[in-house]
Symmetry: C2
């Protein structure tokens, strides 16, 4: 889809429109140009966006695709009326109305699903989880490991840090992470701090070739980054996790989102229900 | 909506179904029980989920709401056929088909929009941004500040760290953050490391009462946490940001998502287009 733009227009952050729109677009091969227009919370701002959409329609000779999450009906009307020459996909109207009928209640037309978040317990828990995960990144601290929901283990650069932070940020999960290092392999046992907490450990492994590539970006030509050393560490780590009965997966072809969801499903299935 | 469950069923992580479903549900007052069922990628797994949905329907005496993002039609049929006693909202079918007509091409029925992510440049940039933001958290390093996309400034505990990590993780933005401390207020100038980079600085402020509350959780009864001291620091920081022409907002009633989107809009509007 060269020469085809997609707009995400919202009265809030636009994250919902964007997340959803991108998952729809992922069903098509080509990559369109994408434009997020957040905080469109007045008719005036909506008219400006419509002008932008129409200008793009002229330039590209085709209607841009416009995903909207607009709660206020007057603002929404500006974007959905015929003066707007985009193809508008109205996510709220499509699904909210059938739900109003099913629930037998009217929706409250509340703008911005994140707006009230800042005051909630859930939100405070999320911030606390981020602080916990930062304090327990890379085995920095063995204090309070009993408070961790999950402890990620794996060789250096196997993806533990981004996964821990994602679990904390998106799910309020206190995720510590602990590296497995050559000394652990020589001693042939898990770091002793982890022994009491095996049930909440989860391992990340990685293809040795990919690991060598990542480590070489950090410390080019080092023993640490050498393919042979990466093979050794990965093999030892996988053997150890297998022996200790720690569930693990390979992060090589998985995104942070997929890794995090797998960990939740396997270690904390309760956190998929809320 | 007590006694009403909502399911998010997906062949991938379920994040899209959940994000979208929750934004729809935010339009209604009460909070239903929510269940995410990821990686439903065989008809067998789909049948298990349908059994779970039907059991809940019996318990609650009402059809559960079921948001689905299922690409494979055979699997989808298991959930959408009449044996499933949930109210199914099929997000893909609703929007993919009109787009196929508009684009004049068939969708590729690709499962899991995150699956290919792990191999992309965009994904590598995101991991690099997370590493950068971690290395530049809380003014830890002034090295390579010229590589930062954004530098957040503000008093201790004003929300800089979670915002930086969110910007990195969700947007691949290299976000450093730098505390404003009493010494800066005494000298009455910005930390000197920041002087060349004022254009990419963005300030976070916070209500002094809320700040005192947060700091008291960390260091109860300290001068650091005292309301009077918080008032002083916040006032000095706001005065400094105003004088230096640094844009800022109050994080008190805003979620991380709202803060991050505002920063992008104000400092890096180019990153809202991709």
């Amino acid at each position: 889809m060269p020469n085809r733009s997609v707009f995400f227009v919202s009265d809030g952050t636009g994250i919902t429109a964007e997340t959803f729109g991108n998952s729809i677009l992922a069903q098509f091969t080509a990559k369109p140009r994408r434009v997020r227009r957040p905080f469109i919370d007045t008719e005036d701002k909506a008219r400006q966006v419509v002008a932008e959409i129409n200008q793009v329609a002229d330039q590209e000779g085709k209607p841009p695709i416009v995903f909207i999450t607009l709660v206020n009906e007057d603002i929404r009307d500006v974007v959905t009326n015929t003066a707007c020459r985009g193809m508008v996909l109205d996510m709220f109207r499509t699904f909210v109305e059938p739900l109003e009928r099913e629930f037998g209640i009217k929706s409250n037309h509340r703008v911005g699903r994140f707006s009230d978040a800042a005051k909630s317990q859930e939100y405070d828990d999320r911030i606390e989880a981020i602080n916990f995960s930062l304090a327990h990144d890379d085995g920095q601290s063995s204090r309070n490991l009993e408070l961790a929901d999950v402890i990620l283990v794996g060789v250096s650069r196997s993806g533990k840090t981004p996964t821990s932070l994602y679990l904390a940020m998106q799910h309020g999960i206190k995720a510590a992470n602990y590296p497995l290092i050559p000394e652990d392999f020589e001693r042939n046992k898990l770091p002793s701090a982890l022994a009491p907490f095996k049930a909440k450990c989860f391992g990340l492994s990685i293809d040795p070739g990919r690991l060598a590539q990542i480590r070489n970006e950090r410390r080019p030509g080092s023993k640490y980054a050498a393919l042979e050393n990466c093979r050794y560490e990965v093999n030892e780590a996988e053997t150890m996790m297998r022996r200790e009965g720690i569930g693990w997966l390979s992060s090589t072809h998985k995104s942070i989102e997929e890794i995090a969801t797998t960990i939740l499903r396997d270690i904390r299935p309760d956190r998929l229900i809320y």
